[in-house]
């Protein structure tokens, strides 16, 4: 009897601790952040869109990296290449006004006065000499995304580390690092870009991006430094020190997550800025050179034909805007996820509802 009693008690104990431990199951900081990020609708949608864009962009044309012996070449599923002229296709897809090479893509179904959904041979049309424009835009987007990722990674990495070290240690370390930053800052970006572009533009996009990245970190470094200067005076830093934390742990575990908001915000601006910088350089003729293309180069090449064949302008433009917007939304979601104090704003709808309720006589 006693035995039975004991066993039931112990199982019920176990059950209770089971439920309790489920509730108290220690979620780490990262898990909580991921959970919160997934809840952010705009950011998740942007993430999905961005991933879709990247997948389409890289699989359609395949990947060709490097030269000579180190060439990695994966073929893509799109039938046309960027150096392949298809005059028949261009003629076949001429529009009503007699303009050749306009897009065969039609997304309007018949009941909306369209011709039904179809892609046709050249969904994005062809350029003036008859090269498939989808291929060109995809190639351009490949280049732009690569630039964005390389510049972004380098810029954020260098900027955060320089800023964190300068802000945390202060004194002579800070002074030296900040003067170096000043040196980088006082040189006009466009001049640096032009020089880099002139020198490295013909080597392909990766060296250009790396060089751009080496000149893109200063703004972030300053922001991170300021953030560290205020954060290191907070009492939780002392508390961590008393707990026995090393400088490295204090910087990376305690202060950096608190500075992540500024890093993410400035970092996303850096990413979209990198795309625009590459676009600008290519537009000026310092970036990617023909026969290779980038989105900026496409826009600059066809700026004159905006009146007759506007699609030559739209597609690269749309892509630049979508990528930059997606990156910004993701940054927004990350900042919200990292900030535990983030509270949802009262929406206009809720406010209206509140006003209606308040008019009910109390």
């Amino acid at each position: 009897m006693d035995e039975i009693k004991k066993s039931t008690i112990s199982t019920s104990d176990k059950n209770e601790t089971g439920i309790e431990s489920k509730e108290t199951e220690g979620l780490s900081q990262r898990q909580i952040i991921v959970k919160r990020f997934i809840k952010h609708k705009a950011a998740m949608a942007s993430l999905v869109t961005l991933i879709a864009i990247i997948v389409i962009v890289y699989t359609s044309l395949g990947v060709n990296i490097g030269t000579g012996r180190f060439k990695i070449s994966i073929p893509g599923w799109w039938p046309y290449k960027i150096d392949q002229i298809d005059p028949e296709g261009a003629l076949a897809s001429s529009c009503n006004g007699g303009v050749t090479g306009c897009p065969t893509l039609d997304l309007a179904p018949p009941f909306l006065d369209g011709d039904g959904i179809r892609f046709g041979g050249h969904p994005f049309g062809t350029d003036i000499i008859g090269i498939d424009y989808f291929a060109l835009v995809m190639r351009g987007a490949q280049q732009s995304i690569m630039v964005m990722l390389i510049v972004g990674t380098l810029g954020i990495l260098i900027g955060t580390i320089v800023g964190a070290i300068a802000g945390f240690f202060g004194g002579i370390v800070d002074a030296v690092l900040m003067r170096v930053t000043d040196m980088f800052l006082v040189t006009p970006t466009i001049v640096i870009g032009a020089v880099i572009g002139f020198r490295f533009g013909n080597l392909g996009v990766a060296p250009l991006a790396i060089m751009l990245g080496l000149f893109a970190w200063m703004g972030l470094a300053r922001f991170v430094r300021t953030e560290f200067l205020t954060l290191r005076e907070r009492e939780f830093v002392d508390a961590a020190r008393v707990a026995g934390a090393s400088d490295r742990r204090i910087i990376f575990k305690h202060i950096l997550p608190n500075a992540i908001g500024i890093i993410v915000v400035v970092g996303t601006l850096l990413l979209s800025g990198a795309i625009l910088a590459e676009t600008a350089l290519s537009y000026l003729g310092f970036g990617v050179r023909a026969p290779d293309v980038s989105l900026g180069l496409l826009i600059s090449q066809y700026q004159g034909s905006f009146g007759i064949s506007p699609w030559l302008f739209w597609w690269p433009g749309t892509l630049i805007i979508s990528i930059a917007l997606c990156v910004n939304f993701i940054g927004d979601g990350l900042r919200d996820a990292f900030d535990p104090r983030q509270r949802r704003h009262i929406s206009m709808k809720e406010r209206r509802k509140a006003r209606e309720l308040s008019e009910v006589p109390s």
């Binding site: 900081q29 002392d238 508390a239 026995g244 742990r249 509140a354």
Partner: protein
């Protein structure tokens, strides 16, 4: 302006609600009170009881998600639903505010003179010269020394008390019929607080203004109030004259609130446990001087000079002094957060005067610290479970499941639910955060605990519970404790011995009774005299004695 018998402020059936996440949350429910000219009404309650919302709601200063209903009459004029222009005219001229934090309520970019002149010229048709003369008059009325020079001073050039005086001068600029003082002395030292209270009382007599005083401090209430309104969760608990509330409280909550206020000399003497007597000291400070090193052109600042103190196992020593007296500096140096320039510090027999990184890591196993501001001492990006577990993790004491278990034990010991471990600091109340602070400090079962003003940010009832908890833990774990505070009543409850500091020097040290009952030094006497007692009659006698001794 108004007839003599009409109350300056009449509030009836006054409700405030806040719209949060689709629900109306009431902040004040059916409030009815009025204030006569020359009288002080105190609204007392704990944080979150809605007292500040009322102050802001009177003049429609609330956030956009609030709604107000009922009636507020200032000199007989209805304010609820009044036009914006009327409200603006009334604010400042008929109703003036004094806020809690003079540093944030004054604009740091302008001189105090400019800010007073601004108020004057907004409400009156006044030339700049005339306004300046009036401003200087006001500055001298609030007893800021050297009014002519102070006119051109910026807020940061004034001390906390002077800033509060400047704030008061600004709010008095238009001879308001009603002065709303929202926790006017909470951010100030006791001695400064006493002066400001004197000032407010004098001004009331001189200007015959009505004063609405909002505070959580029963001592302040006892000192000033004619009528008292006790609030809890937006509801009026009790409303009556000062005498009724203090001497014949009717409601249990009022009694509870009064009981939670620490009173000087109300607790029996705490004796050290006999088995702990005669052990070598845990912390030994010998002629210690601490300097903040010079920074650029700012010369080095000596915060503590020639300070000696010993703390024995199982003993709580209260370190008392005004802000700027160097007591926090001592606390920080005692666990190796600040270097010393002279003297010697020993912890558990180890010399940490010039510690190496290795020595520091070792002594951190024996020491813990609870910081003043629980909001800033917990990493906002870390769930509290991780904050508590950090000392255990870093010292290599526990890992994984063992660490989880220890964290849960610690949460149990400070009487917090285990499920709180995944919460972030901002999801906890101030008192709960401070419990987390204790749990972290005690994670390694230290032999020395430094408590740096742990209760200064807490309500009285929360403070009482916190002090109980600390005492229980101390009885159980028998750590030595240096309890730093500006509140003499708190050290009175807790400590075995008391050390008094002024301007970086040790003024007096002795057992609790020696210091509180028979202080030898003038400064200690002054400090004790300035503590307001939550009893109007006793406070009046103390006040008169203090003023007479001046």
């Amino acid at each position: 302006m108004s007839t003599t018998n009409q109350p300056v402020l009449q509030v009836s059936k006054f409700n405030i609600d806040f719209w949060v996440e689709g629900v109306w949350y009431p902040a004040a429910i059916d409030m009815n009170f009025d204030v006569q000219a020359g009288k002080v009404l105190a609204i007392v309650g704990e944080s979150g009881s809605g007292k500040t919302s009322i102050a802001m709601g009177l003049m429609d200063l609330l956030a956009s998600n609030a709604r107000v209903s009922g009636s507020v009459k200032v000199n007989g004029v209805e304010m609820v639903g009044a036009k914006k222009s009327l409200l603006r005219k009334t604010r400042g001229a008929d109703v003036a505010y004094i806020f809690q934090e003079p540093m944030t309520a004054l604009n740091p970019l302008y001189t105090i003179g400019f800010q007073i002149v601004e108020t004057l010229r907004t409400h009156y048709d006044m030339g700049p010269q005339e306004a300046k003369t009036r401003a200087i008059e006001l500055i001298s009325m609030v007893e800021i020394p050297n009014p002519e020079a102070s006119f051109n001073k910026y807020p940061h050039q004034l001390s906390g008390g002077q800033r509060q005086r400047a704030m008061i001068a600004q709010s008095l600029a238009c001879d308001p019929g009603l002065l709303v003082a929202d926790e006017p002395t909470t951010a100030l030292d006791v001695t400064v607080q006493a002066e400001i209270l004197d000032l407010i009382r004098n001004l009331r007599d001189k200007l015959n203004s009505a004063i609405l005083l909002i505070t959580h401090d029963m001592g302040v209430v006892a000192d000033l109030a004619d009528h008292i309104l006790v609030m809890k969760d937006g509801l009026t608990v009790e409303y009556g004259t000062s005498d009724q509330i203090f001497n014949h409280p009717q409601r249990p909550y009022t009694k509870e609130l009064l009981a939670a206020v620490p009173k000087l000399g109300s607790v029996a003497v705490r004796e050290l446990r006999p088995e702990l007597v005669g052990l070598p000291p845990v912390l030994k400070l010998q002629n210690v001087s601490i300097e903040y090193p010079k920074k650029g052109r700012v010369p080095a600042f000596r915060a503590v000079t020639d300070f000696s103190l010993e703390i024995f196992p199982g003993e709580i020593v209260g370190l008392v002094g005004e802000s700027g007296s160097g007591k926090t500096t001592v606390g920080r140096a005692a666990i190796g957060l600040l270097p010393t320039v002279e003297g010697k510090i020993e912890i558990v027999g180890r010399d940490i005067t010039k510690p190496t990184a290795q020595e520091l890591r070792e002594i951190r196993r024996f020491t813990g610290i609870v910081f003043q501001d629980p909001g800033s001492s917990l990493n906002p990006r870390l769930p509290i479970g991780e904050s508590i577990g950090e000392p255990l993790l870093l010292s290599g004491d526990a890992k994984g499941a063992e660490l989880n278990r220890r964290v849960e034990d610690l949460l149990d010991s400070v009487e917090l639910p285990r499920s709180y471990r995944n919460r972030y600091p901002h999801e906890l109340s101030g008192g709960q955060r401070q419990r987390v602070g204790i749990a972290r400090a005690l994670a390694l079962t230290p032999s020395l605990l430094i408590a740096d003003e742990p209760t200064s940010a807490l309500d009285v009832s929360v403070q009482a519970r916190f002090l109980d908890l600390l005492q229980n833990l101390q009885d159980k774990l028998k750590f030595a404790c240096l309890f730093i505070t500006h509140d003499l009543a708190v050290v009175d409850i807790l400590s075995h011995r008391i050390a008094v500091m002024q301007d970086g020097r040790l003024v007096e040290v002795g057992t609790r009774d020696q210091i509180l009952k028979n202080p030898r030094e003038e400064y200690t006497k002054r400090l004790i005299g300035a503590v307001p007692v939550p009893d109007p009659e006793a406070q009046r006698i103390r006040r008169e004695a203090r003023l007479a001794s001046k």
